[in-house]
């Protein structure tokens, strides 16, 4: 069965205050970086999965993202998926 690599990105919904992002934004100013209007912190999760097809891998990662990796009450998620067997650099 083919192997797939997925990168899941989890971010707080735009309506949810991100105090950690606000704190990082104020630290950026102390670093001397000006002009940052918005800074929000999320999570990136990488995983390898074996599945019979890309469609099956996609379905699995969707369920995983929606039910475990993110809490849809406060977070949004997206992901990228590609067949890792085809990577020329592996």
């Amino acid at each position: 069965m083919p192997n797939f690599h997925a990168k899941v990105f989890v971010s707080l919904r735009p309506s949810v205050l991100d105090p950690a992002g606000e704190a990082a934004k104020s630290a950026a100013l102390r670093l001397g970086i000006n002009g940052i209007n918005k800074l929000r912190i999320g999570k990136s999760i990488e995983l390898d999965i074996t599945a019979s097809s890309e469609e099956e891998a996609k379905n699995s990662v969707e369920v995983l993202s929606d039910r475990l990796l993110a809490n849809p009450v406060i977070e949004n998620w997206t992901f990228e998926l590609h067949q890792s067997d085809l990577d020329s650099d592996i």
Binding site: V16, L17, P19, A20, A23, L68, L69, N71, V73, I74
Partner: protein, 218 residues
């Protein structure tokens, strides 16, 4: 009549709850390991505070899949009383037994303090024994206690009279000053403050005692 106290890896208020129930209030209580599915010997369940599964991913996100919680869903459906304290409240929202979510405190601080609370609803057993209009003091200790939900959920909570307690001086940015909510049936209560730390007059407060006593009252 016995209260079950769920012990997850990383729970750290489980023994406090047992001490408060048994030693302070004389209520029979026993620990319940997170891998157990058998709730038959228990008449009420407490999900205690702490850092279940290290709070990895999100508070309560991993605990939600513990075998004991499969049984807890049926227990709640059958009208069993469940109290989630602090991390236990976070687990109840992740599990979907209570709406909304608990997120990082507005000012990022871990807050360890005693706070003034107003009782918002006397609809359920949990607060039926408090005086109408009574304000209470309970300890809080959390970094992620900011209650968050969408406006439809907030309206539903208000319409169903399910907002149990509110902060008098909101310490963490919770929507609607919410410190604790119940489900519609009233048998599930989730709250960030720790009633088990206010059951002995030596500690200066006993405002939590009536909440714990109501675990076994009908």
């Amino acid at each position: 009549m016995t209260v079950g106290i769920v012990v997850f890896p990383g729970s750290n208020c489980d023994r406090d709850v047992k001490w408060a129930l048994k030693d302070c209030l004389g209520i029979p209580a026993d620990f319940l390991w997170h891998e157990s599915r058998d709730l038959t010997k228990f008449d009420a369940i407490v999900l205690p505070g702490g850092f279940s599964y290290g709070d990895y991913l999100r508070c309560g996100a991993i605990a939600r899949f513990a075998p004991v919680l499969d049984s807890l869903i049926d227990f709640v459906k059958n009208g069993g009383k469940v109290l989630g304290i602090c991390n236990g409240f976070q687990v109840l929202t992740e599990l979907g037994l209570l709406p909304g979510a608990l997120t990082r405190n507005k000012d990022l601080h871990f807050i360890c303090n005693t706070v003034d609370l107003s009782i918002s609803s006397y609809r359920t057993d949990w607060f039926a024994n408090y005086q109408f209009g009574e304000n209470i003091k309970l300890p809080i200790a959390h970094g992620e206690g900011r209650y968050q939900c969408n406006s439809d959920t907030l309206k539903q909570l208000e319409d169903e009279d399910s907002i149990a307690i509110r902060y008098m001086n909101n310490p963490n940015g919770s929507m609607g000053d919410i410190a604790g909510i119940t489900n519609k049936n009233g048998n599930v209560l989730g709250m960030m403050p720790h009633p088990e730390r206010a059951t002995d007059s030596l500690f200066g407060q006993i405002d939590g005692a009536k909440i714990l006593k109501s675990l076994l009252s009908n």
